[in-house]
């Protein structure tokens, strides 16, 4: 186990290192750089040259990377050429926003997904199964950026139930903060619920047919108890798996949701920095999401092997 852990951690660090290289060269493959974006009003060659020089963009890319990596290892992610704000402080401000959104979405996803999955699995092939499956697949099929717009139109603009968009820091007004987060979290959670429902259902189907469950039934335990105990046990595995596998999808979803609902989180920051060629910010944000993704998957693998040692940890995460 310890050997396995060490190997996984080493592989993760290597992956992360390679990911930073990909990002570094990838953003430079976009046409135009920060200097073009910054000198749009003048395109003054002297200003362009000065900006290039200041951000080391006039050096070979490899040496730029060395420079960046050197500072990044000390925790300095540089400054945004666009706003002159330090990338780490901007990230520190944005992470909690996205974390709150993701967590609320996860909670909503669990609240809908687990019961629906259990319901579907208890009577496979019956109406409740079809209903739950249909609704779950519906949640998976809905383009969430569109769903968001429709909800804004319906709940905020026409019915005035909820605020349309934007973000209120939780300390300044916790109620308003939650009200603002409700719609985006629900939209994001709907897609997640579908995935959780499917995972729960298939896990439940498998375990309801398993020997120990048959034994439990044979022992005369009530059906409710059989289902509840094993459903919840399974959903624990499901939660862990889904969180790992869906983190990427969640981050992807966050990009569009934050755009539609104008939430100042990581997702919006990612898109903005792509479009504004804000290299340091983009590098920082991608480093962060890649790191989060890798770390969470590592944790998921480990938790997995702790919860259920029978599961081969090396198996492909399909």
């Amino acid at each position: 186990m310890r050997w396995y852990l060490a190997r996984r951690v080493a592989a993760s660090i290597l992956t992360l290192f390679l990911a930073t290289i990909v990002v570094f060269f990838g953003v430079r493959a976009l046409p135009g750089g920060p200097a073009v974006a910054l000198s749009a009003e003048s395109n003054d060659p002297a200003v362009v040259a000065a900006i290039q020089h200041k951000y080391h963009l006039d050096e070979p890319v490899v040496s730029q990377y060395g420079h960046w990596l050197g500072l990044a290892l000390t925790g300095d992610l540089g400054d945004s050429p666009l706003t002159k704000l330090s990338v780490s402080s901007v990230l520190a401000n944005r992470i909690p926003v996205t974390a709150e959104l993701t967590l609320l979405a996860l909670i909503i996803g669990l609240l809908i997904g687990v019961p629906a999955g259990v319901l579907a699995a208890v009577r496979p092939g019956k109406f409740t199964d079809y209903l739950a499956s249909g609704v779950a697949l519906g949640g998976l099929s809905i383009p969430h950026f569109w769903f968001g717009i429709v909800l804004i139109l319906l709940l905020a603009v026409h019915l005035h139930f909820l605020p349309a968009a934007g973000f209120v820091p939780i300390l300044s007004d916790p109620v308003s903060n939650l009200l603002h987060m409700l719609m985006p979290a629900f939209v994001l959670g709907a897609g997640l619920a579908a995935v959780i429902m499917r995972q729960t259902r298939s896990a439940m189907l498998e375990s309801l047919g398993a020997d120990y469950v048959r034994t439990a039934r044979a022992k005369g335990l009530s059906e409710w108890r059989v289902v509840a105990v094993h459903a919840l046990r399974n959903s624990l595995v499901t939660v862990v798996t889904v969180f790992g596998l869906q983190l990427g999808a969640l981050i992807g979803g966050v990009v569009t949701i934050e755009q539609v609902f104008d939430i100042p989180g990581i997702g919006k920051l990612t898109l903005d920095s792509v479009f504004q060629r804000d290299y340091p910010t983009l590098q920082g944000v991608v480093l962060l999401t890649a790191a989060a993704y890798i770390v969470v998957n590592l944790l998921v693998d480990l938790t997995y092997s702790v919860i259920n040692p029978r599961i081969r940890v090396t198996g492909a995460a399909a």
Binding site: L14, V22, S133, S141, P143, T256, V286
Partner: protein, 295 residues
């Protein structure tokens, strides 16, 4: 459902036929899956027959009838440039299917051989390939697709390419996992001992084992790509005007939501129903191919 390539060994052939029959039975036993299949056929037909069934030229603007609500003349109303929305919806099925289905096909065609080679040869090849895929997997699908589309420049072809490339790592991983398992099967080991060439072993003995998990993945990936394509268009990284495209229609509609809500409703419903059809179909295929899912 899927064309399983003919295997050389009679036993395997019989087993595969049996599997196929069982799969078909399991599939048709699920009404939702059949409904999905019907939905997919309808969307494909709409895409193919768009020029025949569209009441108007999807690009013909008429500045005298802009933002007209649904009526007898325009069943789904007209857009901000006076174009017939229904016709644009029909033609939009083309770019949706193209970007959604083609990108997944493309990814499969590229990824399966990579996964085969990595899983078969293992060691250095495997280590290098899987490290590259891990790196690619460290970026969420949508961010990868947006980045690639931004680098390649906005067009339907580039959006399809971007979506396709973004799907490669997952399929490589699945393929490789199956290859690792299949490689240990008796008849594969036997073929290797008999001195069959690696390429022949991979094509004849291993590939058939990989097909069904890859198909299952594809059924999940197609609807996700259809939505992904809509998002790229919505972000301005998709088709070029005046090409009809559901994502682009939504992006246009967002401006007119308060005046002409139907502009935002129809394309969204179209994306939803198309993705739902593929998902229902895919769910059925998955259950049919993967008996573990059934009690």
């Amino acid at each position: 459902m899927t064309a399983v390539p003919v295997q050389t060994e009679p036993a395997a052939l019989a087993a595969s036929t049996l599997r196929r029959r069982r799969a078909r039975r399991r599939f048709t036993a699920r009404p939702l899956a059949v409904l999905g299949a019907v939905g997919v056929v309808v969307v494909v037909l709409v895409a193919i027959l768009a020029p025949l069934i569209s009441p108007a030229d999807p690009s013909a603007s008429n500045f005298d009838t802009v933002l007209a609500g649904p009526s007898v003349h325009h069943l789904a109303g007209t857009d901000q440039l006076g174009r017939d929305v229904l016709s644009r919806l029909f033609f939009g099925a083309r770019s949706a299917l193209l970007a959604g289905v083609l990108s997944t096909l493309l990814a499969t065609v590229v990824a399966v051989p990579i996964g085969l080679v990595a899983g078969y040869y293992r060691r250095v090849v495997d280590a290098v390939v899987m490290r590259v895929m891990d790196v690619a997997l460290a970026f969420p699908f949508l961010i990868l697709a947006v980045g690639l589309a931004a680098i390649l420049g906005p067009s339907l072809v580039n959006a399809t390419l971007a979506l396709g490339i973004a799907q490669v790592p997952v399929i490589v991983r699945i393929t490789r996992g199956e290859v690792l398992a299949a490689r240990e099967l008796d008849y594969v080991a036997a073929a290797r001992v008999n001195g069959s060439r690696p390429r022949a072993i991979m094509a004849r003995q291993i590939l058939p084992n990989v097909i069904s998990p890859v198909v299952v993945q594809a059924t999940v990936a197609i609807p996700a790509s259809i939505i992904g394509a809509a998002i790229l268009s919505f972000l301005g990284l998709g088709v070029q005007p005046p090409t009809a495209d559901w994502g682009a229609m939504l992006s246009d509609a967002q401006i007119y939501l308060s005046q002409a809500p139907w502009l935002g409703v129809f394309p969204g419903v179209a994306i939803f129903l198309t993705a739902l059809s593929f998902n229902l179909l895919g769910d059925g295929v998955r259950d049919a191919l993967d008996p573990k899912m059934r009690p």
